[in-house]
């Protein structure tokens, strides 16, 4: 007795239906783009330094006697104390935000989940602003990061509990939860603004707008380990995140410890968001736009999505920061404003698509 039905369709060859080389190719292209964007960004500024000299300066520091050294007397100093910390910080924060978005979308099973949209970023911002207003200093240079993490964790948990019903997250519930959470956090921020003295007030305002201006190596040192831990952990979890797309029950049936995976992911989202927010303020929509574009190119599999999002987020934010610095002469536009300006319409488009496909996410 045969159970297979005779069918005159050429059998699809065994193995992968999405090419591995495609995924690796995308990651390679993004890595190359990141190097180019970083060099370009470091070369651009009040006085330009040719990209070749930027590369030469880096190579010499690495002990390689290659390429030309900067000719301008102030160039070396400017590069290593002002521009490089900013570029590195931008790349790391971009990677953190995009990875947080990809993780959050995986856990919620909803492509509209993003730390900025659902209020996790502003939750972290409230906690960080508290540190500034009350001049807290219990964990040294880590104080802001620690508090941002705590604030982000609490907000993520709240959103998760509120937006989830019967093992799934409806788009409407998620977005409305974001509205409510953002209302509460903006009230908190307003109150802190009211309490703060003039200098603290200025600091908070700049930081709700999101800015990478004045990044220092000391801050990069705090943020980098958080992001490395977050991205590596997300890579390790990639396979299980794929299975979560089946829904909680079916994921459990194929062997995923759903409760544990979910808690780990929530902690990672809070960690990555805190890393992004702690020194640079709220930069929304990076976590929405980047994973979505990656999915369009390479499909939804997290083994490609996570690394490609991290790299893509870094590239996007480095370029956005370059634009923020150069769009208006002698002015440093708040980068959070720029990403929201681009991300907002993108979000509209996604919402329309969501409505049209009624949950059938592609």
């Amino acid at each position: 007795m045969t159970t297979t039905l005779q069918r005159e369709v050429a059998a699809t060859p065994r193995g992968r239906v999405r090419s591995v080389t495609g995924g690796i190719g995308l990651i390679g292209v993004l890595a190359a783009a990141l190097v180019v964007a970083c060099v370009l960004s470091a070369a651009t500024g009040q006085f330009p330094i040719p990209p070749g000299e930027v590369l030469g300066s880096v190579l010499h520091r690495l002990g390689l006697d290659l390429g030309p050294l900067p000719t301008h007397p102030q160039a070396e100093n400017n590069l290593w104390n002002v521009r490089f910390p900013r570029v590195v910080m931008t790349a790391i924060v971009g990677a953190a935000l995009a990875t947080a978005g990809a993780l959050m979308q995986g856990v919620f099973g909803n492509p509209l989940a993003e730390p900025g949209v659902v209020g996790v970023s502003s939750g972290a911002a409230v906690a960080a602003a508290t540190v500034i207003v009350f001049s807290l200093d219990f964990a040294g240079s880590w104080t802001i990061a620690v508090c941002a993490f705590a604030g982000g964790l609490v907000t993520t948990l709240v959103v998760y509990v509120m937006a989830r019903d019967d093992g799934r997250t409806e788009v409407v519930t998620l977005v409305l939860t974001g509205v409510a959470v953002n209302a509460i956090t903006s009230a908190g921020l307003s109150f802190l603004l009211f309490l703060a003295n003039t200098s603290a007030r200025e600091e908070i305002v700049f930081w709700t707008l999101g800015s990478l201006n004045g990044s220092r190596w000391a801050e990069v040192q705090v943020v980098t380990p958080l992001v490395v831990v977050g991205v590596v952990a997300a890579l390790v979890l990639a396979r299980q995140l794929d299975l979560l797309a089946l829904g909680d029950r079916a994921a459990r049936h194929v062997g995923v410890d759903v409760e544990r995976l979910r808690m780990i992911c929530i902690v990672l989202v809070a960690l990555l968001t805190a890393a992004g927010v702690a020194f640079c303020g709220v930069i929304a929509f990076v976590g929405l736009v980047v994973p979505h574009l990656v999915r369009l190119v390479a499909g939804p599999g997290h083994r490609v999505l996570v690394p490609a999002s991290a790299l893509g987020g870094a590239v996007l934010l480095v370029l956005a920061d370059l634009w923020a610095r150069t769009a208006i002469a002698n002015a440093d536009l708040p980068i959070g404003m720029l990403t929201s300006l681009v991300g907002g319409p993108f979000f509209f488009w996604l919402l329309r698509r969501a409505r049209r496909t009624a949950g059938g996410w592609a």
Binding site: M1, T12, P300, G301
Partner: protein, 286 residues
Amino acid sequence: MSAGLRARGVGVVIDGTPILDGVDLDVAAGEVVVLVGPNGAGKSTLLSVLTGDVAPTTGTVELDGRPVASYRARELARRRAVLLQQQRLAFGFRAREVVEMGRAPWHRSAEAERDLEVVAAAEERADVAHLATRLFPTLSGGEQARVSMARVLAQSTTLLLLDEPTAALDLQHQEAVLRVAREEAAAGAAVVVVLHDLSLAAAYADRVCVLAAGRLRASGTPREVVTPALLSEVYQHPVDVVEHAGHLVVVPVRPPRAPATAPAAAAPAVPVPSADPHQEQPCPAT
């Protein structure tokens, strides 16, 4: 003997409402057990208890001699596969990728070497090989159900729990899916299938279990259980069972239809007399 599934005195109370009450069920290796019963009888809840998703309020469920709750998720996934009624997928994975998800429990085990072979065989048996490159969310309901069936087969387990696997399928694929279930049993698996179609149940089950109002009303071979008296009582609708080509066929008793030529507005005011002995009250033809 410990191989197989063994439920004892299973009761589930949700919000004070008893959904299941004192259900005993044994499913041995090599056996196809079909659960039938009217809507709200507790079939899906019983299946959730058997999968380990719902902890019973009272009673125990053991798989291969160990309580289901004591298994780790992956350990359990290597022994039992589940086909849910509704197929969901959050992102646009391709059909082949969904089938491959069934191999997840075997990742990094010696079994993983057979992944390609097992996935191809599962696709072939669920008749979805030609859909491999399609995006799962763009498939029809029936195709999604078959891809999910292939995923369940790819899991290579010795216990299969299938919740209405035929609901979205056409006639050809309904038969095919249940033939596959029988083959799995013949190869040594224990198979539990929730079905609504009683004729299908009678044709493919080794044992039919009838649930009614949260209790196990009857359990036995199709010929013992699929009887007009029992089914008419449980479904509260007169039912006839006839034999056709060696199979039992369950037919709900229906009033004869008005002649096709008569316009609907001119339907007879007097009920059409029925010659059927099972019919208690002839329904007015409207």
